[in-house]
């Protein structure tokens, strides 16, 4: 390739493309390198794309982007073997501009988004693996690719290479992730006629539903399952920490079958035809796992930097915002003509000032706490189900008696103090 660029972005996922788009729009000369056949061909997502952060990059993107359905109802299931306690919110205002969030299929979406960066002047090269960063005197000055004559140089290299981030690791910005810092997630896209989806989920053509499923969906392990509606297909998936999966000797696809055939889930999938099966990691280490973000001539964005809020399944939006903030810091560095860590550190500062840093910090102990205390998934969700069963079963005993029985039931197995301690701990990490 032999050329020189202002910025080289490695990886055309939401983080990399946001960065390339923003930098190119500001007039920088941008090269975006993707190892897949096309952007999206290596990428997996349950499917919820957040309007707010996307709109900050491309206003009114919904008029043009390949989206599935705007989500008008979010349901939460706390599931036991044969029962569930649910909560949900449905708001038709979410089905109108400016919307709240959308279901998307990433292969289509990522290609479209990258094409928008190209429209802004970025050069996109697919089917190219960046094998290493070229470092001179401790400064990243370019990248080596698996193409013949594949060295390219730039003022700044942006690592948007996703959860595995071999490049961040090779620069020593982080060590190998531990099995409790990542969630292994598998999913299927199942084709189902639009009309059937509308009837089953009680929505109209341009309305979608997201369902997060806790409890028996992960057989007590820390994790969740999800079921989202596309136009004429469903995304059904499940993930737990890799450490949990290893400890329980679980095969991920068996867990997926367990969810698909669960009596609470199965009726929604009936007649569905699997169109694709996908596996991917989600970085879930949170705040404490965030690696070094900035070096001389280099920054890290998106999943590569562990920017995921596992509690609210937000990843793509953090990826986008971090990519945009990195681009803004690079534009500023270009104006000054200095690409050292000191100048690029502007990105890190802005990031920690934004919702990305603040939310990561707020939930900094959540994953570790729930991983170390499996009772939240394994015991309390079944207890909640038992309590609801007791309360709603009409058996002739007065309601006051029922309430007192329920509270006794909660504390009987574990003891009052343990329950109180568990509640306080959960409150502390979530508040």
């Amino acid at each position: 390739m032999g050329d020189r660029f202002d910025v080289i972005v490695v990886g055309a996922g939401p983080a990399g493309t946001s960065c390339a788009y923003t930098a190119a729009k500001s007039g920088l000369n941008v090269l975006l390198i993707e190892r897949g056949e096309y952007p999206g061909s290596k990428n997996v997502m349950g499917g919820i794309l957040y309007r707010k952060q996307m709109e900050e990059i491309i206003p009114e993107f919904w008029k043009e982007a390949p989206l599935e359905r705007p989500v008008v109802e979010q349901r939460f299931w706390f599931m036991d073997r044969e029962s569930m306690v649910t909560s949900s919110y449905k708001g038709l205002e979410w089905g109108r501009e400016p919307y709240n969030n959308f279901t998307v299929l990433r292969a289509k979406f990522d290609q479209w988004f990258a094409s928008k960066a190209v429209e802004q002047g970025a050069l996109l090269i697919n089917e190219t693996v960046v094998t290493e960063c070229i470092v001179e005197d401790g400064r990243v000055v370019g990248v080596r690719t698996d193409r013949p004559d594949g060295d390219v140089y730039a003022d700044v290299v942006v690592l948007a290479d996703g959860v595995n981030s071999l490049l961040g690791k090779s620069l020593g910005f982080h060590k190998e992730w531990k099995p409790d810092e990542v969630a292994l997630t598998v999913m299927e896209v199942m084709n189902l006629p639009k009309k059937t989806i509308n009837e089953r989920f009680n929505v109209e053509d341009n309305q979608g539903v997201s369902i997060e499923i806790f409890g028996d969906s992960t057989q007590g392990l820390l994790g969740t399952a999800f079921l989202y509606t596309n136009k004429d297909s469903l995304n059904i998936g499940v993930g737990t920490t890799l450490s949990g999966m290893i400890k329980k000797k679980l095969k991920p696809y068996h867990l997926l079958e367990y969810v698909k055939t669960h009596p609470m889930v199965k009726p929604y999938l009936e007649g569905g035809e699997t169109a694709e099966y996908l596996a991917h990691l989600i970085p879930e280490g949170g705040y404490k796992s965030v690696p070094r973000l900035v070096g001389d001539g280099v920054v890290i964005v998106g999943d590569a930097a562990q920017f995921v809020n596992a509690i609210h399944r937000e990843g793509s939006n953090m990826a986008m915002s971090s990519g945009k903030m990195a681009a803004e810091a690079i534009v500023r560095a270009k104006e000054i003509g200095d690409f050292t860590e000191r100048t690029l550190d502007h990105y890190r500062k802005e990031l920690y000032r934004s919702f990305v840093g603040k939310d990561l910090k707020k939930y900094k102990d959540v994953t570790h706490t729930f991983e170390d205390h499996p009772q939240y998934m394994a015991d309390y969700i079944p207890m909640l189900n038992k309590a609801a069963n007791k309360f709603f079963t009409v058996d002739g005993s007065p309601k006051k008696q029922k309430q007192s029985d329920i509270i006794k039931g909660f504390t009987k197995d574990k003891g009052k103090i343990t329950v109180a301690r568990d509640l306080i701990r959960a409150w502390k990490v979530m508040k």
Partner: protein, 99 residues
């Protein structure tokens, strides 16, 4: 039952639905099979790999790299750091068409 077949129950049925553009060279390599044989009785990689890539054949590990989703779990999850893990050549490996 017919309805069950299209729901891709087994891992073979699931993998059959995925598009792969295979390289001739493996991007995954067990560094030392002796470690698998002597130190790793559980052989976790044969359990948690979502694509059933690793199969223990009594005294050696069969690595069906062609079906790999490139998720990275085996690199992180092998307790002996015994897997050399690279990306397939540009444009090769798994090609997701949908999500």
């Amino acid at each position: 039952m017919e309805g069950d077949e299209i729901m891709a129950k087994t891992i073979e049925e699931k993998q059959y639905l995925v598009r792969f553009r295979c390289d001739t060279k493996s991007h995954l390599e067990v560094k030392d099979e002796n470690v698998c044989l002597t130190s790793c009785p559980d052989k976790d990689c044969t359990i948690f790999c979502p694509a059933d890539v690793y199969k223990w054949e009594g005294d050696r590990m069969h690595v069906g790299f062609e079906g790999c989703h490139e998720c990275g779990s085996c690199r992180i999850g092998c307790p002996y750091d015994n897997i050399k893990w690279e990306y397939p050549k540009g444009g090769h490996g798994i090609v997701f068409r949908l999500a």
